[in-house]
C-alpha cells in the first residue's frame, strides 16, 4: 500500500534581483488538508504557488512531495488554476483538453472532459475557439484543464478571479470536494474565498 500523500516545505526562500520576496516558509500538508497562502500584493503568493507547482526553483530550502520519483511526478500530482496560465486561444475548449492530455502523455478521457465542461457551464461552447470566450469563461476552462487528470493536489491562485456568482459557487463546490479527497492549496487576498483551512502561511510576516 502506498504511503499517504504529503507536501512538506522547509525553509523556503525566494529572491528576485537581490530582493528577498519571502524567507523561512515552512508547512506540512497531508491528505484532506487545506493550506491558505495570504499576503498583500507583491508578498509572493503567486511565487510560492509556482514553487509548489515546480515552475520555479527556490533560492533556498526544499519542497518535497512524499514518495516523489520519476520525471512526471509534478505533472501527475498537481493541477493549477492561476491568472498567469493561458490556454491555446486558437483551439476550442475541447481541443485544448485533448492537447493537454496528450502533452501530459495521458489518454484523453472524453467522458470526464465532457463532465467537466458541463460542470463549468462550457459544454454548449466547447467547440468554439477560446479567443472568443470572455475572461470568466477562460477561467472556467482553466478549471476543466486543471482537473482533467484528477490531480490529488489542487493549487488555486486567486481562485474566484473573473467568475460570476454561479462560477464562484461551482468553484466552492470543487474546493469542498477536493478537500475530502486530496490536498488543496489556495493563494488569495480574499480570505473569505476559503471556508476553512488547516494550515496558513501569511507571507506578510516572512519578508
Amino acid at each position: 500500500m502506498s504511503e499517504p500523500l504529503t507536501v512538506r516545505a522547509e525553509g523556503l526562500r525566494m529572491v528576485f534581483n537581490r530582493r528577498v520576496i519571502f524567507d523561512g516558509v515552512h508547512f506540512t500538508l497531508g491528505a484532506t488538508q487545506t493550506l491558505l497562502i495570504s499576503g498583500r500584493n507583491g508578498a509572493g503568493k503567486s511565487t510560492l504557488i509556482k514553487i509548489i507547482a515546480g515552475l520555479l526553483t527556490p533560492a533556498a530550502g526544499s519542497l518535497k512531495f512524499s514518495g516523489e520519483q520519476g520525471i512526471f511526478v509534478r505533472q501527475s500530482l498537481v493541477g493549477l488554476v492561476a491568472p498567469y496560465l493561458s490556454l491555446y486561444d486558437e483551439f476550442s475548449a475541447e481541443e485544448n483538453l485533448q492537447h493537454i492530455a496528450a502533452m501530459r502523455g495521458l489518454p484523453y478521457d472524453r467522458d470526464r472532459a465532457h463532465d467537466l465542461l458541463r460542470r463549468m457551464a462550457l459544454f454548449s461552447r466547447k467547440d468554439d475557439a477560446v479567443h472568443t470566450y470572455s475572461s470568466g469563461m477562460k477561467q472556467r476552462a482553466k478549471y476543466a484543464a486543471a482537473l482533467l487528470h484528477a490531480p490529488p493536489v489542487l493549487l488555486l491562485d486567486e481562485p474566484m478571479a473573473n467568475l460570476d456568482g454561479d462560477g464562484t459557487a461551482t468553484v466552492r463546490a470543487i474546493m469542498d470536494e477536493h478537500r475530502r479527497e486530496g490536498l488543496l492549496i489556495v493563494a488569495t487576498n480574499e480570505t473569505g474565498d476559503v471556508d476553512r483551512c488547516d494550515e496558513r502561511v501569511d507571507l506578510n510576516a516572512l519578508r
Binding site: G54, T57, I71, F72, D89, H99, A101, M103, G105
Partner: protein
C-alpha cells in the same frame, strides 16, 4: 527512466509535436512567413542576376542564404509564440523539459525539411545556371543540413524567447552557431553541382553528422536550465 515513464515521455513528445502541427495548420504563422520570404528572396536573386551566368559556387552559396534567412524568419516561432501567448508556463506544467525540447525539435525538423524542399524545387526551376549533377550528394547535404539547422534553431529559439528583442537577436545569435554548418553545406552543394561522387563528400557528411549529434546532445543537457525559471 522507468519503462512506464519512457512510454509516457514518448507520448508527451508526440503530444507536443501534434499540438504545434495543428496550431500551425490553424494559424499558418510560420508557413506563411517562410513561403513569402523564400519567394521574395529568390525573386531578388533573379532580378540581381538578370541573364548573367553565375558560377556554381556562387549559386550554391545563394541557395543557403535563402535557406538561412528563410529559416530565421519562421523557426523561432516554436518558443516565441509560447512566450507571447502566455502558454509557456502552461507547457512547463504539462510536460518535463526534455519532452518539450524533443517535441519542439521534431516540429522544427518537419518545418525546415518542408521549407528546404520547397526552396530547392523553386530554386532548381527558376535559377537557370543551378544544375545538380550528383543527386545523392545533394539529397544527403539537404537532409543533414536541414537537421543541423533545426537542431540549432530550436535551442536558440528557446534562449531568445524571453528576450525583449527577439526578432533581431535570433539571426545574430544563430549566425556564429550555424557558421561551421553553412561553410560545409555550401561546399557540399557546390560538389553536388560539379558531379562529385558520394565518396568524395564523405568528410562533409561525417562533419554534419557530428555537428547534429553534438548540438542536439548539448541542447538536451542545457535545455532544462534555459526553459525553467
Amino acid at each position: 527512466m522507468r519503462s512506464g515513464d519512457m512510454k509516457r515521455w514518448l507520448l508527451s513528445v508526440r503530444g507536443i509535436f501534434l499540438k504545434d502541427v495543428r496550431s500551425e495548420l490553424r494559424t499558418r504563422y510560420a508557413v506563411s512567413a517562410l513561403v513569402m520570404f523564400v519567394i521574395t528572396t529568390i525573386a531578388i536573386i533573379l532580378f540581381s542576376l538578370a541573364h548573367e551566368a553565375a558560377p556554381p559556387e556562387v549559386l550554391s552559396g545563394m541557395l543557403w542564404v535563402v535557406i538561412f534567412f528563410g529559416a530565421m524568419s519562421g523557426l523561432s516561432r516554436t518558443f516565441v509564440m509560447e512566450e507571447e501567448r502566455g502558454t509557456a508556463m502552461t507547457l512547463q506544467l504539462l510536460a518535463p523539459p526534455s519532452a518539450v525540447y524533443f517535441g519542439k525539435l521534431l516540429f522544427n525538423v518537419v518545418l525546415v525539411v518542408a521549407l528546404n524542399a520547397f526552396t530547392v524545387i523553386l530554386y532548381l526551376l527558376l535559377v537557370a545556371g543551378f544544375v545538380v549533377r550528383s543527386a545523392d550528394v545533394f539529397a544527403l547535404t539537404m537532409l543533414l543540413g536541414s537537421l543541423g539547422f533545426a537542431s540549432a534553431a530550436t535551442i536558440i529559439a528557446a534562449i531568445i524567447a524571453r528576450a525583449n528583442t527577439k526578432g533581431t537577436l535570433y539571426p545574430v545569435l544563430s549566425f556564429p552557431i550555424l557558421l561551421p554548418l553553412l561553410v560545409v553545406v555550401i561546399d557540399a552543394t557546390r560538389s553536388a553541382t560539379e558531379g562529385a561522387p558520394l565518396a568524395e563528400a564523405g568528410g562533409a557528411f561525417q562533419f554534419l553528422i557530428s555537428y547534429i549529434v553534438v548540438l542536439t546532445t548539448l541542447s538536451y543537457l542545457l535545455f532544462e536550465y534555459i526553459w525553467k525559471d
